[in-house]
């Protein structure tokens, strides 16, 4: 019997087992995700995670679309953090082709990526608290507050790119849009508002005994498990490992920025919450530094093309990664010298993060499954790709 399906004897003394289907349309799945739970009473003893409902074979798409066409499609892998998904793809192309990226474009990429992290974490916090429901003072309260703040960031993205969800902001060699007049002032105002509201969220949650009971000691990922499964982002940092791609392998001028990488050691849902709350503030800090030090100059290193096949990448291969809102997002790219990649592999952070579920859910109650899954923050576009 496969290890993931092995039944662990815990809790309940009886020998009556119940198979329960959760999903694929369960509201807490934030996408389409099915879990086949084996229960003993209310305790979960085994989980079989069924994914693939949103599979579009992005890796095959990447092989059939050119380097000019694909970046805007790349944003559809992780549609909640589209900026970093695009960035992962164009970084891989630039790495293999050794294209230069102007410094202004690098800074604007950082600003976009960090604003995106704020927007993504807003959605995570809101939906997670809504999943845990009434215990947090009336279901949708935190959700609506978070969405209100997320809207402000999306408005800034709309002013920058014209789009609110899938941006098409990046292109190979730089970015497509320069900042509109007065944009930086608006961004600063947005950040000030969000920074103040973070205190409100924390006051609502940290002081809430129900919230603590539902998250502390729940869904513990050990240091060893985190590494063996390959989780990244807030999950691995919540398990005591200070691994952040922005530090481990700085890209796009991150070495110029001053920020902290939060680490918590408990490995539970609460630790992951703490990590993300600090990340909110660090992202705000990075965006402010980016706006302060924004260099002048061009935003793309290559002239516009008249046909989609005009950007060619010399023969070679490489792996480039960025720190997305959910962890390490990477692209492994093999080029045969043509206008399209020979092979494109997506390393989705959510895929690896979700793979930890079968190891941490058994032993918890059904209600905790929702809390644990929310703390993992999977986006199924990125899991299934």
């Amino acid at each position: 019997m496969p290890e993931t399906r092995q039944v662990v004897e815990v809790g309940y003394g009886g020998n009556e087992r119940l198979m329960m289907n959760m999903g694929p349309q369960h509201p807490s799945s934030h996408g389409v995700f099915r879990m086949i739970l084996t229960l003993e009473g209310e305790t979960v003893v085994a989980v079989d995670a069924v994914i693939g409902y949103l599979h579009r074979c992005h890796e095959k798409l990447g092989e059939t679309l050119t380097y000019v066409q694909y970046p805007s499609i790349a944003s559809k892998t992780d549609y909640v953090a589209a900026m970093t998904a695009e960035l992962a793809y164009v970084s891989a192309v630039e790495k293999v082709a050794k294209f230069e990226v102007p410094r202004r474009a690098q800074y604007l990429r950082v600003i976009a990526a960090e604003l995106q992290r704020i927007a993504s974490h807003c959605l995570w916090l809101g939906t997670w608290c809504m999943d845990m429901g009434g215990a947090l003072g009336g279901g949708a309260t935190v959700f609506l507050y978070c969405i209100r703040e997320r809207e402000m960031v999306l408005d800034r993205f709309e002013e920058l790119t014209g789009a609110r969800l899938l941006y098409g902001f990046h292109q190979v060699g730089g970015i497509r849009y320069d900042v509109p007049a007065g944009w930086d002032k608006k961004v600063r105002e947005t950040l000030d508002v969000i920074e103040a509201r973070l205190d409100e969220y924390e006051a609502m949650l940290d002081a809430n005994a129900f919230f603590r009971v539902r998250t502390q000691g729940v869904g513990v990922i050990s240091r060893e498990l985190a590494q063996a499964v390959g989780v990244s982002g807030p999950l691995i940092r919540g398990s005591g490992i200070g691994y952040d791609v922005r530090r481990a392998e700085p890209y796009s001028s991150y070495e110029d920025f001053d920020f902290l990488v939060p680490v918590e050691t408990a490995g539970d849902c609460y630790a992951r919450y703490r990590v993300r709350m600090v990340e909110f503030r660090q992202s705000i800090r990075i965006v402010r530094q980016g706006l302060d030090g924004l260099p002048e100059g061009p935003i793309s290193s290559r002239p516009g093309v008249k046909s989609v096949g005009q950007v060619r990448v010399p023969k070679g291969e490489g792996y480039a990664r960025v720190e997305g809102a959910r962890g390490e997002v990477g692209c492994y790219l093999v080029s045969d010298g043509g206008p399209k990649p020979y092979r494109l592999k997506w390393r989705g952070a959510s895929f690896s993060n979700l793979a930890v579920l079968p190891y941490i859910v058994p032993g918890h109650k059904v209600a905790d499954v929702v809390a644990i899954m929310g703390s993992v923050d999977p986006v199924f576009g990125e899991v299934d790709r």
Partner: protein, 149 residues
């Protein structure tokens, strides 16, 4: 463990020269795939399993790649093995890294690479009754869907 130390140790134990590709790149025969992964995990300290995938080199067979990391060093090791044309079997790493479970299932799903010893090798992204392996180069993009059953 610096990259130079690791490189020397690999040469001593496996007689292979690691290629510097941002980290260390090692090409192995598939018979030594699992042995090397164990060595990388236990002796090079690469306990972080990053990803595993394959490339279809048409008549030159599949290449299976696996990236593992030592996050403390930091050290990145990319293992590669080339399966001969027509060969689809490759040893599993699930006994060493839990993360290999889903990654190998995905690789099986997309390329039809059979990871021998994997405890639960079934399709993960596509439905169980899917025909063919989409990321193989001989799989046409416009392959019609099998009729609804």
């Amino acid at each position: 463990m610096t990259a130079a130390d690791a490189s020397a140790l690999i040469r001593e134990r496996f007689g292979i020269d690691a290629v510097a590709d941002g980290g260390l790149g090692v090409t192995l025969p598939s018979q030594r795939w699992e042995e090397f992964a164990r060595f990388a995990r236990d002796e090079l300290g690469c306990r972080y399993f990053n990803w595993l995938s394959a490339v279809d080199w048409k008549d030159q067979g599949f290449e299976v790649l696996c990236r593992v990391e030592n996050l403390d060093a930091p050290l990145v090791v990319t293992m590669r093995t080339r399966l001969p044309a027509g060969e689809t079997r490759c040893p599993t790493l699930t006994g060493l890294y839990q993360g290999a479970d889903w990654m190998e299932r995905e690789c099986f799903d997309m390329f039809g690479v059979v990871f021998e010893g994997h405890p639960d090798l079934r399709r993960i992204l596509l439905s169980d009754d899917w025909e063919g392996y989409p990321l193989r180069k001989d799989y046409a993009v416009d392959t019609p869907l099998a009729p609804y059953r």
